[in-house]
């Protein structure tokens, strides 16, 4: 068997060829009705073989990326390991932020404020009241939930930008408040010596760094899990309807405000937990987490990746963290670099880096159809995209034949031919005129004309056009009266020629 050129998308798809009688056997994730991978079965109409195609390859990409990170981490240098851990932590924050901005559609800038409050609450309880470290996560989560509930109240009342400003103001208030606290004045508003999941004598040692990275990695995985559960299950579906048309969603009984609040509360709780982790990871927490610069950097991350998608949040975080923490030697220039990337991505891409693929496909399709429109003229032929609408495929070929025939006949029509017909409408004709007339005779009734003798008059004719519908009378073409039948024949001929040239 000869090997064909592989064209189109098919070669890059993942396709299995099971035996025709092998049943589709898919494992469900425990306690859920979900499958891990989205296999789709079909019979290939060309090869008549059973195939099983992977319809959604994103889980593979996620597994590859995160797996590569987890495997390479133990071989990284200490500095790189810290950067990887920071990346995981910020990626987790951004994934939860994406949930708020993308899924819930609330333009909140209080993300870092909630993280900071979770961190301060848990760290304060640990240092001053001796809360053991595993309970710090609970404390952070509760603090995040409370603050989230407080912040969520005005979120449905205010418009996007107003709410963004309000949350920005909230972050500023938090910063000032923490700096004013009497108990923390000595440390400039920071809480130090926070208990941690990293044992004390491992701090800043290789095992401690590895443990820190492992913790951050687990946090990232949990954040992605929360994103998956919230975004693509019931809450996310409700909110997607609301995003497309709020009034419609409300009319069908979707309480999208409540759904938004739920998403906001869930992500706030998660952010509080990440805050507790943040305090443990660094062993301290300082008011700089509430600062505007930090917030802007975080915003740059999700903007570069693309708003509203978890891949975007993670990719953007990777780029910005690598530049910000990895190229420390550049000084202020690295922020300049981040700004330049942000500028370029926003100017050229509609929705960040992850949106480029879709944007490119849209552009390519537009160009393709433009080019095709340039090189094809329709003329009654069936276009490829129309062809699927014809059940009887012979119709397509019939129309193509008719089109080519018309093209040939058009080339035959010349002034000499018309003159020949004018002189002798009936009788023997040249070959070309015969062909044209034969084509006219074969046409549909709807395309034909007739000569009508005027009642009570001798040698007075008008031309009528058939409607082609039984019962509907012919209509008058114009009021011109011909006193010679040959003139009338020729007038009909001219009309048909005109129709042919225009078709």
């Amino acid at each position: 068997m000869t090997k064909f050129y592989e064209i189109g998308q098919r070669p890059s798809e993942i396709i299995l060829h099971p035996d025709g009688d092998a049943p589709l056997h898919r494992r469900r994730l425990p306690f859920t009705r979900r499958h891990l991978l989205k296999w789709r079965s079909r019979t290939n109409p060309k090869s008549l073989q059973q195939e099983r195609m992977l319809a959604d390859k994103r889980p593979l990409w996620w597994a590859l990326g995160l797996g590569a990170l987890a495997i390479t981490a133990p071989f990284l240098t200490n500095a790189s390991l810290t950067i990887a851990a920071i990346f995981c932590m910020f990626a987790a924050i951004n994934v939860l932020w994406t949930l708020v901005i993308g899924t819930a559609g609330i333009f909140s800038l209080a993300t870092l404020a909630i993280v900071g409050i979770g961190a301060y609450a848990s760290a304060g309880l640990n240092v001053y009241l001796g809360l053991p470290w595993p309970l710090m996560f609970v404390a952070g989560g509760v603090a995040g939930l409370i603050v989230g509930g407080f912040l969520a109240l005005p979120s449905t009342r205010l418009d996007g930008l107003y709410y963004a400003l309000l949350t920005m103001g909230f972050a500023e208030i938090c910063r000032v408040f923490v700096q004013q606290l009497k108990a923390l004045t000595a440390a400039n508003g920071a809480i130090n010596n926070v208990g941690s999941f990293i044992p004390e004598d491992w701090q800043l040692q290789r095992p401690g760094l590895l443990l820190g990275f492992a913790g951050a990695f687990v946090i990232l995985l949990l954040a992605l899990l929360i994103f998956r559960i919230v975004n693509s299950e019931r809450l996310g579906m409700l909110l997607q309807t609301a995003r497309e048309d709020e009034a419609f969603a409300e009319a069908t009984g979707i309480d999208y405000r409540r759904a938004r609040l739920m998403v906001f509360l869930i992500s706030s709780t998660g952010l509080g937990v990440i805050g507790a982790f943040y305090a443990q990871f660094y062993g301290s927490i300082s008011p700089s987490i509430f600062s505007l610069d930090q917030l802007m950097l975080l915003f740059a991350m999700i903007v570069i990746g693309g708003l509203g998608r978890s891949e975007g949040a993670v990719i953007g975080t990777a780029i910005v963290v690598l530049i910000d923490k990895g190229l420390l030697g550049l000084g202020p220039l690295r922020i300049l670099l981040v700004a330049a990337i942000m500028l370029a991505v926003t100017l050229f891409a509609h929705n960040g880096l992850v949106g480029i693929r879709e944007q490119f496909r849209g552009w390519r399709n537009r160009k393709k159809s433009e080019a095709r429109a340039r090189r094809t003229e329709k003329g009654g032929e069936v276009m490829p995209e129309e062809a699927i609408e014809f059940a009887d495929k012979q119709e397509i070929y019939y129309r193509r034949f008719q089109k080519r025939l018309r093209d040939r006949l058009k080339a035959l029509i010349t002034p000499e031919l018309i003159e020949e017909h004018r002189l002798r409408p009936l009788g023997q004709h040249s070959d070309a005129l015969n062909r044209v007339l034969n084509h006219f005779r074969r046409g549909e009734v709807a395309d034909k004309y007739a000569i009508m003798r005027q009642p009570d008059q001798f040698h007075a004719y008008k031309i009528v056009a058939f409607s082609g519908v039984r019962g509907a009378p012919p209509r008058l073409v114009d009021d011109k009266i011909y006193d010679d039948i040959n003139q009338a024949y020729h007038a009909v001929f001219l009309l048909r020629v005109n129709d042919l040239m225009e078709s």
Partner: protein, 309 residues
């Protein structure tokens, strides 16, 4: 604490924040763009004015000697340099954040991001080029104090207040009387209708961005009479201007003026109360704005239908 000092302080702050807020508000209502690079314009034109003043100082001193003429000439040079560079920076913002994307999908968010990136880049660029050291602009109103009806005010405060009033008056006059001003006001009321009447979006947006840039440049010169020029000096005025513009209702010039006066006085009063003090100024301002926004979600002046959505 003397009530007069509070009053003058409040007016001074209100004047400068008002200039910023009106710039932001005007740009939003006519072009539909939140300009986060307003603070960058502020800082950059402060530096430009400093550079020009530094370069011409010796020349002017040599030509006219010490005296009123030199001071007023330096004032003219500094103000022109600040406003001119502000306008140029506004044109840059127009070229980067408006022209390429104004007819593309989700323009408001993308222009916000672009201006944010410009802000970030400018601040870091200034920090990198000039270093974090603060620069001192020439005192364009001279130094000294004026006693009037029992009120005592420094020259720079009075100058800032008067200059702002004059600038705002001129701007509003231009908007009310000129042909371009008519076009801009048409764009504010109904962008689609304005376009259908043959008003070009591009040629309206350019003067608006340049005008608001010039306003930011002037605000920079005026504020630099009280504090210094530094790379990050634009952040606070930007935040203040944004909050005041939102408090007044985006797109409403009277609302912005009212908001600026309220915030200016609020800051001055909170700063003057002994047990609160300067440290709680920001806290109090934001708390106030949050309360107002919760009660009136579209700010003071933004009557629901008039504000651009």
């Amino acid at each position: 604490m003397d009530i007069s000092v509070t009053l003058i302080n409040g007016l001074n702050l209100a004047a400068i924040y008002g200039l910023m807020a009106i710039g932001i508000s005007l740009l939003w209502s006519s072009v539909g763009m939140i300009n986060m690079a307003h603070g960058a314009t502020f800082a950059a034109s402060g530096y430009a004015a400093w550079l020009v003043a530094d370069a011409t100082k010796a020349l002017v001193l040599a030509a006219f000697g010490k005296g009123l003429l030199t001071t007023s000439l330096m004032a003219g040079i500094t103000l022109t340099a600040g406003a001119g560079f502000g306008a140029l920076f506004g044109a840059l913002i127009y070229l980067l954040a408006f022209l390429p994307i104004h007819d593309k999908p989700n323009f408001p968010v993308r222009s916000l991001i672009v201006t944010l990136a410009i802000n970030l880049a400018t601040v870091q660029g200034l920090l990198w080029y000039f270093g974090p050291k603060q620069k001192n602009l020439p005192k364009i109103f001279g130094t000294g104090k004026l006693e009037f009806l029992g009120l005592s005010a420094r020259y720079d405060q009075i100058g800032a207040i008067l200059a702002t009033a004059v600038i705002l008056g001129l701007t509003l006059f231009w908007l009310k009387t000129s042909r371009k001003g008519l076009e801009i006001r048409a764009m504010m009321q109904n962008p689609e209708g304005a376009v259908l009447s043959g008003i070009s979006v591009r040629w309206t947006a350019l003067p608006v961005t340049m005008l608001t840039g010039a306003l930011a440049g002037l605000a920079a010169i005026l504020l630099s009479q009280t504090i210094f020029v530094s790379p990050t000096s634009g952040t606070m005025p930007l935040i203040k201007g944004l909050t005041i513009a939102l408090l007044g209702g985006l797109g409403s010039v009277p609302g912005a003026v009212a908001g600026a006066i309220i915030i200016g006085f609020l800051e001055a009063i909170v700063g003057a109360i002994p047990f609160l003090g300067q440290r709680y100024v920001l806290f109090a301002t934001f708390l106030f704005i949050i309360i107002v926004l919760i009660i009136r979600p579209r700010g003071l002046g933004g009557l629901l239908d008039e504000a651009r959505k």
